[in-house]
Amino acid sequence: MKNRLHPLAGVLFAVLLVPAVQAAPASVTVTPPDGARFLVHQRFDIRVEGEGSTKTTPSYTAALKIDGRTVSFSSGAQGTATTDGISRAGWGGFNLRGYSFPRAGNHTIEATFDDGTGPVTVSARVNVQDPFRGKDGRLTKNIVIMLGDGMGVAHRTAGRLVRYGAAAGQPNGRLEMEKFPGSGLVSTHSLNSIITDSAPGMSGYVSGNHNFNGQEGVYPAHMINTFYYPRIEYLSEYLHRVKGTSLGLVSTADLEDATPAANAVHTGNRGNGTGIVDQYLDESDPAGTNSHGTGLRVLLGGGRRWFLPSTALGSSRTAASGYTSLPADLAAGWGVPVTVPGQGSPTRDLIGDFRAAGFSYAADRTELDTALAGRTPHKLLGLFGYGNMNVALDKVNKQRGVKAALPNGSTSFVVDDYQAPNQPMLDEMSEAAFKVLSRNRSGFVLMIEGAHIDKQSHLMDADRAILEVLEFDRAVGVARKWADKLGDTTVLVLADHECSGFSLIGALTGGITTLKTLNSNVPTNLTGGSTAGCVVNGSTAVNFSCQLAHQQVVGTYDTAGFPRYEILADGYPATMDIDNKILVGFGANGDRFEGWLTKPLPVIDSLLPSNIKASLANSGYPANPAARPESATGALFRGQVPGDQAVHTAADIPVSAYSTGNVGWTRFVGSQANTDIFFKLSKLALSGAPSKSHDDDDDDDHQGHHPGGDDRSGHHDDQDGRDLHH
């Protein structure tokens, strides 16, 4: 969809018109910002705010015009210092909650704000699109967004090479996401930076609007509670009102986290966990009125600690990170409750409240299987870890019976150390979500996140990051299987941003046995020649006749060859430490020690360069140097960014699209902004796309259509068709 407006470069908010008088309030803004886009009838909040003069007690007044017509605010007392009562000290604010445009086209919002020292006029031009116009064919009923957090092109390539390898220049197979016929690129910028974080990185896809970093489903504001910030309606909310759809959220992260929350929760602080998880339930429309809320019916992931009352060990609920009520006009404008019993209270038993609202609850993999074994529930809550779920490698190792060596010399299963010994894999969680959501004849919006691709990329742990891609891709296979089964489904594989500048620089030479003996703290010449002049970690020598030991084993160009990994029956590599393992560099790296071996634990340690000479001989680390921290022997690579973690990049990310019932996948071919995705999905859901012909299905097969996927439970809806469309 083309944005008909061309926002002035660098202008985030309003055109400021200041009259000739010198005194005037500062920082006057109107939201939505200039250039915002909406659907017809998509709700959003309008807010005018400004910082009062410090020379006199402000007496704030404001007036609002939309397309030249005067419109009343829903809150904000005129001629007072307090206005709406929820603006920060020193600020005045006036709100119009839950507004929407009934007609498509370009519109103007103009406001005048005065603190008693002189008026300031601000305005914004917004564009409104009609997703109902032009019945194009068959409607998309189900929307599935597969979100690989931080996953760029190179992450996918690495996953493919590990899973399938290549020979004579050809990949030996394709990941599930690579078999989708539609390919495009997506820019990932946020409202305030070319480099986003996961909050606006997700909300842009599902609201059509950019948000500030750290904020989700809201515009920025100066208000006393971040849950009061001006809202923008999500895809889930809009389609729930318009079509009665349900929402499902599945993630390997703590469910408080930005990616799942930025599909359903409105807050100016992604870290306000208590309020975020409360809002999942409180604005889910549990009674099924279809008049408001998200229609949340499936919520699976980590973060149990936010759902436990403070009387329970491990609870993270606090009053400071929540809210007990919403402003009356916000609640009225959005049709949500002003307050709900227990909302924002540390003592709230939120799991109990979910159950009372009709959700079945599962705390581990076994309970998840049990919940789905009989009649499929209408609603499902699964909390499989206290915080983030563990990474794929650690979950797989538990299933394989492989323990990790701890720094004190003992061994244990990492998942056991996190008191979550029986966690499902992402494809199993996805299967459960589809089973429950497919009960809704009106369709659903489902977001499935592979969260730890990003986390492990930040930590520059290539092996774990690649395994996360493989776990995520298995879930993509489940999504495709269900799209084929249900029909009228569009599946997108996306990322919120790229992380770490992940790049495949070559493959190991010399083998793992030799690698385990290397020490970049001593001069090493692997060619057998003199070590005179060879650099070591921290060396300032200018003679680079031989590089660090761990650099000397990086096989580039021809010497990379074609690494081949043994894949076990569970779909994961037997080991990542093969003799010519793929080696990954990081273009957005922090300082790190690199030993190229799989780290025994998710993090061994992160020594700062100033501790390069620290001795660990007597600190309880095992004698086996391969199990020691990489700082003991690894090559020190100084970062291009400060600190010891890699960062997000501004690189575009690939989108892969698949659709059944229509050729909606074709809409995502080419380059687009992240917010364009929202308008394309909306149009597919409300005016559709041309139907797929039988020939189109044949074309899919020719491109490598790979039907099916594992249904580990053995339950087939074909055998119980009642569950497909209740």
Binding site: N272, T311, S315, S316, A320, P346, G387, N618, G620
Partner: protein
């Protein structure tokens, strides 16, 4: 940067004219236990509430650390902004309060540490809005890698 501050902590906090009981060694595996439906503190943990204990672990590296305190974990942990900044802490992480650094960030020390102090158990909402359940009011901290 961290060593001089650690020395100062040891001197400042270790100097106590009153006779104190020998700290009871405590392992992370002795802090919590699962029941069929929940995680609960062990009897040993509850019996040591208000007593001096000694634990060995690692300071969690936090993108958003708490002022005047740090989290001690069994194995090294890095927490970024995910999960409100604490998403990767295990449930048995111990919140170590460093009274002398009340308004400051405790300098990060990546090496194994031995902490000694008075144990406190029970829910508390900290000033930064985070909840804690197992706390240690620090008396003494020792960097184990400096032991010969």
């Amino acid at each position: 940067m961290s060593s001089p501050i650690l020395v100062a902590l040891v001197v400042l906090l270790g100097a106590n004219p009153s006779p104190v009981a020998e700290p009871v060694p405590l392992a992370f595996t002795e802090l919590v236990r699962p029941t069929s439906t929940a995680l609960v503190p062990t009897q040993k943990l509850l019996s040591l509430k208000g007593k001096r204990v000694r634990l060995t672990g690692f300071m969690a590296k936090m993108e958003y650390p708490s002022k005047g305190a740090f989290w001690l974990t069994q194995s090294p942990v890095v927490c970024d902004e995910a999960g409100a900044g604490t998403g990767d802490l295990p449930p048995n992480a111990v919140f170590v309060v460093v009274r002398s650094l009340a308004a400051e960030n405790v300098p990060f020390t990546p090496r194994p540490l031995e902490v000694t102090g008075v144990l406190d158990v029970g829910y508390r909402a900290e000033p930064d809005g985070r909840a804690t359940h197992i706390r240690l009011i620090l008396d003494r901290l020792e960097d184990l890698s400096s032991k010969s």
